[in-house]
């Protein structure tokens, strides 16, 4: 690996981890698309700050962009609070307006400046190592790495300090308000984190990929755990894997790094959807199948239990009678009998079925509840 390769991967991993932390709360609070709105709306902040400073490297751009992100959130809330527009529609109204205004301003007044809309959407991580952080003639490494490292540290510190508050507001906003935790303040702090992270990340990976890195890794983690600390860690880890994996996929395909990272993040999420131990689609299907067999065995036990020691026990407790009584087709009935016998619920002699002691217990338990 060459030095720029290592630097690119390092930047990508730091960005992914920084995005996953606030992203976890967005996913849990069902505000995932706020990241979409913010990552688009910050463009107008960058453009306006650029008109003031006329310098693309000015830190004022980051401040301006972060502020617009927060303004976006409050505009969405303002619209929502009129009671005339629902939140999803409000998000869908606000960010296109801000984004349109930014595109218009760029097209009209900044056409020849190095601020083109393509870069905004797509980002170019491959160029990040060329922008060096130089102090007194010393090359300390790529600027993006310091910027994103700082943002990652900020996220870790703020989320660490406000961990209890964030947790409470996320899972029970009503209780948080009743206990005097000011959910609105916590909400705005979280949104500021989302905003500053989006601003930092978007230079390197573009606004759409910010969404991928903020939402996909935490959602993947959400399928794997029920604990918030684990979800935070697992989300950051998944993001880092997507970032490094995406880099090598892009290297191999000779394609866009940002796009490949989104693809890998999507693949990881898809894998979690299918194979997650308890929440995955396959695990759920297996559980359903197991429940179906168990229910059928209980039915069989109850049937035999009800007819035991009655005059018609001999006819009722026959294999071929089950089709008539329980409406089971012969194959299904044979399967159920086989499984019940293996579990030790029944004995099976030719056509006759008898309950074992364990079978009695199961039937009684099911009937009594």
């Amino acid at each position: 690996m060459s030095a720029p390769q290592i630097e690119i991967q390092l930047i990508a991993v730091v960005i992914a981890a920084a995005c996953a932390l606030p992203g976890t709360f967005l996913v849990l609070r069902r505000m995932a698309l706020m990241s979409d709105a913010i990552s688009h709306a910050i463009l107008i902040g960058i453009v306006l700050a650029f008109f003031i400073t006329e310098d693309l490297a000015s830190p004022l751009l980051i401040v301006g962009a972060t502020l617009t992100g927060v303004v976006t959130v409050s505009l969405v809330e303002l619209l929502n609070r009129t009671g005339r527009v629902r939140e999803d529609a409000a998000i869908g109204l606000v960010f296109p307006v801000l984004f349109s205004a930014a595109v218009l301003l760029i097209a009209r007044y900044a056409g020849n400046v190095h601020l083109d809309t393509d870069a905004v959407l797509l980002g170019e991580l491959a160029f990040a190592p060329f922008d060096r952080f130089i102090v007194a003639g010393w090359d300390l490494g790529p600027r993006a790495l310091y910027l994103m490292g700082g943002i990652l540290a900020l996220n870790v510190v703020i989320i660490g300090l406000l961990y209890k508050e964030l947790k409470l507001v996320t899972f029970d906003a009503g209780l948080a308000a009743a206990l005097g935790f000011a959910p609105a303040v916590v909400h705005y702090i979280l949104m500021s984190l989302v905003s500053v992270t989006a601003v930092g990340a978007f230079e390197a990976v573009g606004s759409i990929l910010v969404v991928a890195l903020m939402i996909a890794p935490p959602a993947t983690a959400y399928l794997l755990t029920d604990r918030l600390p684990v979800m935070l860690g697992l989300g950051a880890l998944t993001g880092a894997v997507a970032a490094a994996g995406g880099y090598w996929l892009a290297h191999w395909l000779d394609a866009s790094i940002a796009g490949s990272m989104a693809m890998v993040a999507g693949l990881l999420f898809g894998a979690a959807c299918l194979f997650a131990p308890q929440r995955g689609v396959i695990a759920a299907a297996r559980r359903r199948a197991a429940q179906r067999w168990e229910f059928a065995q209980t039915m069989l036990a109850i049937h035999l239990f009800n007819h035991r020691d009655t005059p018609d026990a001999a006819t009722e407790s026959r294999v071929d009678h089950l089709q008539e009584h329980l409406r089971w087709d012969p194959d299904f009935a044979a399967q159920v009998i086989h499984r019940a016998e293996r579990r030790g619920l029944i004995h099976h002699h030719g056509q006759a079925l008898t309950l074992t002691g364990e079978g009695m217990r199961v039937a009684r338990e099911a009937l009594v509840g």
Binding site: D88, L253, G259
Partner: protein
Amino acid sequence: MPDLLHDLLFDYTLRTVALGAAILGIVSGTLGSYAVLRRQSLLGDAISHAALPGIALAFLLTGSKAPLVLVLGAAVAGWIGTLLVMGVVRSTRVKFDSALGIILSVFFGIGLVLLTFIQKREDATQAGLDKFLFGQAATILAQDVVTMAALGGVALFLMLLFWKELKLLSFDPEFGSTLGFPIRALDILLTTLLVIAIVVGLQMVGVVLMSALVVAPAVAARQWTDRLGLMIALAGGFGALAGVSGAVISSTAARLPTGPLIVLCASALVLISLCFAPNRGIVWNALRQRRNRRRLHVEGEVIP
């Protein structure tokens, strides 16, 4: 102003663009109404982003830039993306908003990867596909408008054909399913219509801004009425108005891209409707409140 009107009617480029924008506004406003009513406003955003890999793949496979081919690719990809969103929401505990965000960004990422492949091919410059990102209304040709009109017409016809069913689906799907309507199938039908509405507009306003045209006219129309039929008609009208005004304003000066202007016009309509629509308007509401407060105050002084 008379000049503008003259241009609108007789200038080929402006007439084509304005006509295309009007069709786009009608179709997306109309079908967007359902999305807004069903609280799926941002589905349009996901569909339009998900369409990008379809466009790129259609071009890679056929080597053709014919609008119909690209639009078909966009529609298939947008449709698959939406079904994936529905599938994820139904079969895992991941919520609708997260599913939308993931499909939107991951599909877009796949689109970017495919676009870099296209860039590397010798026989094609990226220009032409690029316009799907931000839209390039000025490059719209008469034949594109015909394609848009045909696709949009089919979507609107299907909407009218299934009017009653779609209304039921939007307002009370549980009741619909107890009546024996195939609600899942209707859901897929409505989503398909929305996909058509969105891919029709992609070439004109681009992937990023298309979602606004699904949401804005519908939200504006919602303020004026409580009746579905009227709302849909109004949304179509607002959409067309925004489209034509955006096209006209963008023709008045150089370097004024049409897509963002259409979005800003639609948003201005939303703002006007929110403030001044009869009954629901914020301004009337504030005036009414002030009048009531004053009356209460006066009566309070007279009665004791």
